[in-house]
Amino acid sequence: MAGAADTAPKRGRFAPYGLLSPGIIWLILFFLVPVAILLRAALSSQPERFVPDDLRFKWKWSNFSNALDRFGPQFQDAMRNALIAAVVVAVIIAAVVVLRRGLWHNTRARRLLVGALVAGFFGAYIITSTVDGWGDHFQRSFLYAGIATLLCIAIGYPLAYVIAFRGGAYKNLLLGLVVVPFFTTYLIRTIAWKTILFDNGPVVDFLQTIGVLGDSGRLLATPGAVIGGLTYNFLPFMVLPIYVSLEKIDVNLVDAARDLYSSPARAFRKVVLPLSLPGVFAGTLLTFIPASGDFINAEFLGSPTTSMIGNVVQNQFLVQLDYPTAAALSFVLMAIITVAVLVYARVLGTEDLTG
């Protein structure tokens, strides 16, 4: 905003802390403390089964390796290869930078280099993952969530764009229509997809007739169905932030860019897209993070070979009562996501995480 000094926030001594404290204390008590307790559980040893004893804290790091050996062996391999690839790329980059010092001061080049690093990492990760069959729970989680996020961008961005720039007087109505389906419970929506995509249903029939699916082909109980479910369920979380960032763009600016660049595609690429990246960034987080921890879609639309890390955590925690394993897996999930978010924020150059 055109920040004239007199509209700026006031300096507060005690008042801001007073206003903050109830909410922040709530978050400390019911977010930070529980996470700390979960970490404690991940490092504890389980008492004998069915003995109503508390967990005993023992710095038991082996919980992590055991849990990963059971539910993420291939993920570990892929991570190792990816890290090796990233180190190799980093060494090459370092060599190039040393040879041409000027590169490090060029923002664009720096971004490209970081991009190469990340690409090397994920490239190696994906190659290793796909070589070996179905992968494991962790791999599937990140792979499915990643693909679903990309699909959400592919579907959601044009939708947000049309609403923001061509919605006219119906902007709010259209935006509302994006949100309305989500007042129908998540579970009901997911189960509804089962009724739509079943093997003898019209959709599968049609796809078989036109030859997309083989005669014994199916949609349900495949990775595709799980990814489709995730895409569907998290689409609004992509559309809304992108819409917000597009809406902020001054239409005059776009017009000016059109005049300047002539081609609408170019104008889009040079002006609209960069300005909407914060929205894409926020949308990606709001889609990828819940999708990678989800277990509903895998449970209803998937098969044993598509179950994700969320399914494991849920089962270990709520059914098997194996708290250390569930806690260790939760922490690995959380750690990976945190690292991914930080890297992503770096690459996209968006410091303003908080929107």
């Binding site: 939708l159 229509l177 998540y186 849920q314």
Partner: protein
């Protein structure tokens, strides 16, 4: 703005491209984009259409899955399933209370963050985002570790249940409320408050007459959002519900066997109400706008 300036600074090879996409192609592309967006919107409603359709299903197998003919019977007895009604009422109750608490706590945080400059505000901003960047399953498991009380030495018994679900819902709603209200308050001219004070209004009066009314749109949006999130939450709730059966938990249980058509009826009702609110909102909003401009 720097990105744009940079972008505008380098209009390379503009002249060559000026005539490239001929107008007819541009129009076609524009139409294709509209159609694509329309299809995306339709896609969002496909399963919803199925839910509404099956609310009219004359199921005869106790398993509302195959289409067995049209009936209004489910709609004339929407509350036939007592367990479902109880679960639905419980969910509404939790959503209402959680929203009320979260709006107060989150609203205050937003006020503090936008109205004042203070040490540690950056940290608070980051802290607010953390619950949103943590997968639900981790939030659920960690809260459950707190409430089960088996995971650490404590004299407290297993306290999963109504209060636990409420606490959990408030927790994730506070962040959403704070961020939503904050976004609306940013750029708000705080000198208005000083003006009110100069005109002799006390701090309370200033808040109720100036600050709060300006916060209302943000608060309404945030409240609607938290209500919807709370009503729909399954994962965190499942970890902490104990013996409480909320609407999503009831559906999960029912999905193990038979989805009573009343679930579809209730879902359709929610849908109709929300579309109704949306359409009337748009209608009145436009009338107001027209009235204001004329």
């Amino acid at each position: 703005m720097t990105t744009v300036e940079r972008a505008l600074d380098s209009p390379a090879a503009v002249e060559v491209q000026r005539s490239f996409p001929p107008p007819w192609l541009r129009r076609a592309g524009s139409w294709l984009l509209n159609i694509y967006a329309g299809l995306a919107l339709v896609y969002l409603f496909i399963p919803i259409a199925v839910v509404v359709a099956f609310s009219f299903n004359a199921e005869n197998t106790n398993f509302n899955f195959t289409w067995d003919g049209f009936t209004f019977a489910n709609w004339t007895h929407p509350f036939a399933d007592q367990g479902l009604v109880d679960a639905f009422v419980l969910s509404l109750e939790i959503a209402a209370i959680a929203t009320a608490i979260a709006v107060v706590l989150g609203g205050l945080i937003a006020l503090a963050l936008t109205r004042y400059r203070f040490r540690g505000s950056g940290f608070v901003n980051l802290f607010l985002v953390l619950p949103l960047t943590t997968p639900e399953i981790v939030l659920g498991a960690s809260l459950a570790s707190l409430f089960i009380a088996k995971t650490y030495p404590s004299p407290v018994p297993d306290s999963r249940g109504f209060a636990a679900v409420l606490i959990a819902h408030v927790m994730f709603c506070v962040s959403f409320v704070a961020l939503t209200v904050k976004a609306r308050l940013r750029g708000f001219d705080w000198t208005l408050e000083d003006a009110a004070m100069d005109l002799g209004a006390g701090p309370v009066r200033t808040f109720t007459k100036v600050t709060f009314p300006l916060m209302i749109p943000g608060i309404l949006a945030a409240a609607l959002l938290s209500f919807a999130l709370s009503l729909d939450d399954f994962i965190i709730t499942q970890f902490n519900s104990g013996d409480q059966t909320t609407f999503p938990i009831y559906i999960y249980g029912a999905a193990q066997r038979a989805i009573p058509p009343q679930i579809q009826v209730l879902s359709s009702m929610i849908l109709i109400v929300s579309v109704g609110i949306l359409v009337t909102g748009t209608f009145f909003g436009r009338r107001k706008e027209r009235a204001a401009t004329s």
